[in-house]
Subunit: 399 residues, 4 copies
């Protein structure tokens, strides 16, 4: 039999659970795009987005997914033939590098593997070695969605400064914005890339590039930037239509308005603290399960774990079996392991991820953990006892 | 801080969690009420409702809540001055009796208290004693939402038959239909009363009276039945408009269509089994918590516990404190204790209820239990250890 | 071919077009029914409903349709064996009388036919003749939805006063509330009956009984009122749950909140003026069409025409043919003729109605008229030329 | 006073009126993006899109607006330094050329003004003159949304062939797809650009590039195409995630599924015929109004008018005044004139447009025309009499 009939719960690392408020705001007739409600509302989006990223500077909203924002960030700052330095800590650093190659950009990749955060010292070394000034930007993945590694972005700023190198510091915050602490201005970040569908709790379809005055200067010196990606008209818009370079993403903007109201209603620092507490509860359970049996957190060092996604190793075929059981029996969809093995490799079935980003509270997370606990038992996968008590203890202490 | 931001979870014993499918079906333009989609769709509702109640007989749909259906059932069968026998096992037996009194009906109440199911032997005695034939019907609450007691309706049928009494057997299934096993025809029930907002997963506003041919005969002999409650035109409708005696509840009917599709898609027996398994998981946790400290299931005998709502005693002020903590910190709304004490009595704060009816799965229930566990810890309410493991073990064994 | 693909337009006299705002407000998760948003919101409904009916007195909200409110009004004020006087100007006066008979009330009906408003003089005569004081109430249909006759309710008050008779004045405003001017207190009306699905723009499922202190006194003297209909607990509620006598119609209440905001945002007098102007545009077109050919307004005297529904005569089979053409070709659903002939009488096909109540503006009404004009041409039904210009002239002059 | 309260009607040339079915399909929880409903559903989108464009070949779906699809089409086929030939018949030809310039492409523009369709003979001349083979593609705007000119795309194919030139034929069908007849394969079109928010009736956020095998060959020979715009992985996708190059536009895809069901349910040819008939009704009214006074269709030749948008000249300040009146008094939003004058030029106020694309039927269009008629009267703008009769006559004849 199945105990899955009920509200299905999606615990993948994006798209995240969409709040009813956001969906309701998007469930509306088309607005006029030249004047009226939409135009009036849209003006407030920019300052409210800035407060999420903790910046006083610019933000361009694109109709695109995160891959589009990757491309946009590069298209505005790095010309074909120039180079970027990419310290990779999982799949998505390589992904961004791949987008760069598609633009004709050279990519110097430092691969830190799948369970180790980047070492800012090696970034500094690489920059010092760049005496020819090839490197235009350092592309850091703040949180890698595949490995759940969280990198120290401020340390990379320090490394760039220590090397005295003019490279821009660009951060991929797709999986971390509005989840993990991030201070764009205080940390000296030049460009942030983000998407709507994770911490921002809006369906996929919007992405964001935040950029500093220094990045704007670099843009100004570019030989050419394609119209669709050019962030200039979005930094100093002449009007709503001009901002969008065509038709605006009307319905998504109403959704974004609602999500920003939710985030600032709770408070961005409270949002960070909530994600941190829920992550600690998840880790506590995982550590207990891991005391006996194969389940292990992919990232050993808690100081470098994402607060929005947790990657786990459990050995094949347990990963796929557990995901299947939770889907079929408990109404929970866990994330597949990504980038840990190729899909046609039997080892592929030994990983899974838990998404815990955005619109997520104690009930939702505890329900996922208890469902995993039931699944481990049902599938006879060895595991330590007391994981759920450990998690509820964290929640009790934090809330 | 709070860990409640996220999808709020409503664990009260009705209204239950409304499925997105149902809400989506209701979010539509007004239909024509004379021909077209609505009329075509409505025809299938009656047979599908019958399958939920396991009857071949009639069902009248009313625009009303459960109290309205209580009144409708009586208005069709018991005239002013006639009597009903009410074995009460909590607040709602008295409530139905009160509705009867409002219609001028005499009520013979046998009060079984708040933690004991009805004793069919005493019903039989009362009927045998009714040599004057005053008693027109026996009103049984299948599941009492306040105490979570589930009564043995078939045993009451046997008692009536043993007494050789012509009284109709009427059952209040408001809190049990599509949750607990119920076999209207097999158990010889003459009238069932139900509402839309619990096991049927449709917002409050519709209620249902199922009735047998014998009940229809009793109706036919009534001196007068008010037009609004008269079930006759709804048993043999001349047309859609006539069925409703005016404007139909258009949007609710589309919601009901969807919920019946969901129920029969899963299978009514699977629905019952799911509720039973989830209830056992809840009881298992509660029993462990109760090993040390004040928490106790209101109904000691598991064989007479509802599968849709669980009433708990925890002592004042723990009940209200725990409800408050879950609301404020975990995003879970528990039900207040009902009928256990007066609201202005300090003892009132010593009870709470968990609703687990309708659109509910392992994730939802386990999340509630783990949230309670965290609350017990946070509030330093003594409790046994291992409750969540006990619950996940039940789920693992059942799913 | 068909030109109906697009947003279908429902021009029947109820349910009316539901505003997106109302539907969106209803498309939400179940709320807690003991505390929180719902309870806080509900408190404001009563004063805002009062402002729609222009009364300082009471209003009871029922989970029921208009027929239920008819029964409720009578159940609270007229006991079995007592009598009501019913001046009927179409189907719905007879319908209310029929509900009265179902309660055992005697009904003295004065039938004014289908194209003549009531004559208050004859009401006065009937009351003067009631020397025995049999008549407990006069039941006036403010607007009859079948004939579109609007009666002069204030004149009936004057007649009752002139006769010195203690009968209550009860008005059916189901088809007129928030459409036609109505002044409950200024006109001396004791009881109003209304429903949610017409001028109030909320899906069917709620109805309303407004009542004066005198009506409350009459209620207090009643031997018995059924619990479901008893308005007493709804006039002086002890609490939210008590108000409802069980589960509240949660989702409808959120819809009602939105509709009341819309009405009072526009202003109730502006709502009346809008309905009046749109009605005049419809009449202007109909009068031109009627200059040549069979189409005629059912109610010759404009001073007694509803501002919310227009009944038309066009001769069989033109009525049904025209309705069919508009449905199939233009995306417009007109109302069937009601009460003018029996459905199995060929003459039945000679009538139709246009609903223009609630959420309706110039675009919507003009589109219906132009669609009818196209239908008359397509079906070769003779009609006067220039109807649409006449209508647009009215709109131009009024807006 | 205002007669605008009611359902507001948006008659701008995009975004168009979104069907309730589409909005309802998008109002849903996030789906899993690795397996399940979304993946199963998405497979059918490609063949159904092909049937809309009448092609057997490829289509790439982008998360972007129409401007993005313009860029995508060029990015896949024309390298920096190569040239395109742009016969412009309004603003959007220049807009596409501008996107080309942003990519470093040279643009040879032949400007045909604002009221004349392109002359294929001049295209042929230009191609014959291109003996150096600079021109890589001819960019034709099928329907220009600003002027409402519809160009003869097949004639351009003939011109290219007559010139024996290898240039690709690329058509902007943003304002025409699923409105005006378009036969991609039969007309020999190599690339079509389209967006979701007009004839396809889905909120802005998706755009489409259809491409022929010849265009695919040209792509294969390109030195480099950016990853975001590269259509290759979308023509031969390895999997759902790979198709999207990141997160898919989950909610939009469910909306698109619904709109394609609606289009093919009606039949693409029926869709075209419906748009044609409604356009003729609009033109008929405009021609009558124009018999006396300033209102004139921008495009004199009906054979080259769009069936989806109608541009009108009425002289300043009548255009803005009329738009304002319809907005404030009738609930209708007309489109501003675009590209006819600069916004700060008083002449800017002398134009307006009517959108009639996608989910639009007789009622909607006739309501707009009658509202305009009322506005002309209210504002004392001279105009011919009988326009609405002329329109209803067209509808009567066509439906």
């Amino acid at each position: 039999m199945t105990l899955s009939y009920g509200r299905e719960y999606l615990a993948i690392p994006g798209p995240s659970v969409m709040p009813d408020r956001v969906l309701r705001a998007m469930n509306r007739a088309s607005p006029n795009i030249y004047e009226g409600d939409l135009i009036d509302m849209a003006a407030g989006l920019i300052p409210d987005l800035r407060r999420v990223a903790r910046t006083e500077h610019h933000v361009a909203i694109y109709i695109a997914n995160g891959h589009g924002a990757w491309e946009a960030a590069l298209a505005n700052t790095v010309a074909p033939g120039e180079a970027v330095l990419v310290p990779a800590t999982g799949r998505f650093g390589h992904g961004w590098a791949d987008m760069a190659q598609g633009l004709g950009i050279e990519t110097d990749i430092i691969d830190f593997g799948k369970s180790t955060p980047l070492d800012a010292g090696r970034v500094e070394e690489a920059l010092r070695a760049d005496t020819a000034g090839r490197i235009k930007a350092v592309l850091v993945t703040h949180v890698d969605t595949s490995t759940s590694i969280r990198n120290d972005v401020a340390a990379v700023r320090a490394a760039i400064d220590a090397a005295g190198h003019p490279a821009l510091l660009m951060a991929d915050c797709i999986a971390s914005l509005a989840c993990d602490v991030f201070e764009m201005d205080a940390w000296g970040v030049d460009v942030i890339v983000a998407g709507s569908q994770k911490g921002l709790m809006v369906p996929p379809g919007l992405s964001f590039v935040f950029f500093s005055p220094r990045a704007a200067e670099v843009r100004a010196a570019m030989p050419r930037v394609s119209r669709y990606w050019d962030w200039t008209p979005r930094a100093n818009p002449q009007g709503f239509y001009q901002y969008w370079g065509g038709t605006a993403p009307t319905h998504h903007l109403f959704g974004l308005r609602e999500s920003l109201d939710m985030i600032h209603g709770e408070g961005i620092e409270a949002v960070w603290t909530r994600h941190a507490a829920l992550a600690r509860a998840i880790w506590a359970a995982c550590e207990v399960w891991g005391q006996h049996g194969p389940l292990a957190l992919n990232m050993p060092d808690a100081a470098h774990r994402s607060h929005a996604v947790t990657s786990l190793r459990i050995g094949a075929p347990h990963g796929s079996a557990l995901r299947g059981w939770l889907q079929d029996k408990a109404g929970v969809t866990l994330g597949i392991g990504l980038g840990m093995a190729e899909p046609n490799d039997p080892a592929w079935h030994g990983f899974f991820r838990i998404g815990h980003m955005g619109h997520v509270n104690a009930h939702m997370v505890l329900g996922v953990l208890a469902s995993i606990d039931a699944g481990l038992k049902a599938l006879d996968i060895p595991h330590g006892q007391g994981a759920l008590e450990a998690a509820s203890t964290v929640i009790a202490g934090a809330a």
